[in-house]
Symmetry: C2
Subunit: 218 residues, 2 copies
DNA sequence: GTCTATAGAGCGATAGAC
DNA sequence: GTCTATCGCTCTATAGAC
């Protein structure tokens, strides 16, 4: 791995563990065993590092949040989206923990984020419509965009919510599954009959994942 | 107003406008036209100020989130809770914008927050049960706590969500009403018949408030 | 590409006069 | 209760040698 890539990876790891605010460029360099000067050879400044990390975030979403295929079953596709959200929430949780700060310090990054999130809400709307046409849920047209924002809000801020509510602020991967359960909860009351049973099953699967990991640790 | 109270009020105002991270003790003193030394006469440090502000936050919730009266109509009481949440989300929005950071820097405050939020989830559960017994909503026993957390998550992180999605990061009070609409959206799909009509009307009221204020400014 | 050394700036907090 | 002055620390970022 190139030094540049290693700086990115180390930054992500340290930001996630200690928070973006607490980690300085010196900490990153020190953790890697390189000099601060070397770090600044590869990146203009800390914001430059954050922009590169945002690039990875964006790529992850572009690669995994592809449009639904109407010829395939809807539930496996939904499960695929949820799995990719687990990865997203886990890998970039530091970003959500300091979203306002990070964006307010860097207008360019904020513009990129805004554009990206505008796309994202459209993609979530498309998924909701997919569930609607597959008759998994029944929902008024006027509520769809609102629900899409609630999904986005939940995914974005589940990890800060968990951190604020746990004694030790160290996030574990099973904590993330709890957030997915909440996302499914958002859809569930719009669902009836066979669709409801499918969603209940999916929710149960993620509840189980939560416990499995916990038991593996114990 | 005493200097001590004025420091608290000025801090809240500056934190809300510029973010807690960006505002130093020097900024607060300078804004008030007092010396940094004077500020440190009244408060041990910045965390001390934040703890006092949290005290106000806690008091606001204690005063406004009183248990439901089963002898009175449920909807006016719900509206009362929602109005008090508007105030909370508006007055202390800086707190939610930096929640993880603020709590990770001060173990004592974190403990207080944890205790307070544990109480709060119980109170939200009580409100949901109130809606259930008044037959405004129909909800499985097993979903109630999960829904309560979703309400809390929405209230906590609506303002950071809005800030992240607006060009200028200055929050207005009508933005808050949008969050209340989202909270009502959480309840709506559990509702049917007469209860649904009541919730729709309530949601419409807050949607209107959103627009009224916007027009008053224009 | 990597290092050492350090400039430059800001922040938190205190001492001591009034 | 309020001020001025300032110390010590940390952080960002750069200069210049290798």
């Amino acid at each position: 791995m190139s030094t540049k890539d290693k700086i990115i990876q180390t930054s992500i790891a340290l930001f996630n563990q200690y928070g973006e605010r607490a980690i300085t460029t010196n900490h990153i360099a020190s953790e890697m065993g390189i000099s601060p000067g070397n770090l600044y050879y590869h990146f203009k400044n800390k914001e430059d590092i954050l922009r590169h990390i945002f690039g990875l975030y964006k790529t992850h979403l572009q690669d995994n949040f592809t449009p639904m295929d109407k010829n395939l079953d809807v539930m496996p596709q939904l499960a695929g989206y949820l799995d990719s959200l687990v990865e997203l929430m886990w890998r970039f949780n530091f970003f959500y923990n300091n979203l306002t700060d990070i964006l307010s310090r860097d207008k360019e990054l904020k513009a990129q984020y805004l554009e990206q999130q505008t796309q994202l809400v459209e993609q979530v709307v498309a998924v909701i419509n997919g569930l609607k046409y597959a008759e998994v849920i029944v929902i008024d047209e006027s509520d769809i965009v609102e629900l899409a924002h609630m999904v986005k809000l939940t995914v974005s801020f589940w990890t800060p919510y968990v951190k604020a509510h746990s004694e030790e602020s160290t996030l574990t991967k099973q904590d993330i599954f709890g957030g997915i359960v909440k996302v499914i909860l958002l859809f569930k009351p719009y669902s009836h009959g066979a669709g409801l049973e499918q969603l209940k099953q999916l929710q149960q699967e993620y509840s189980n994942k939560q416990l499995e990991v916990a038991q593996a640790v114990a």
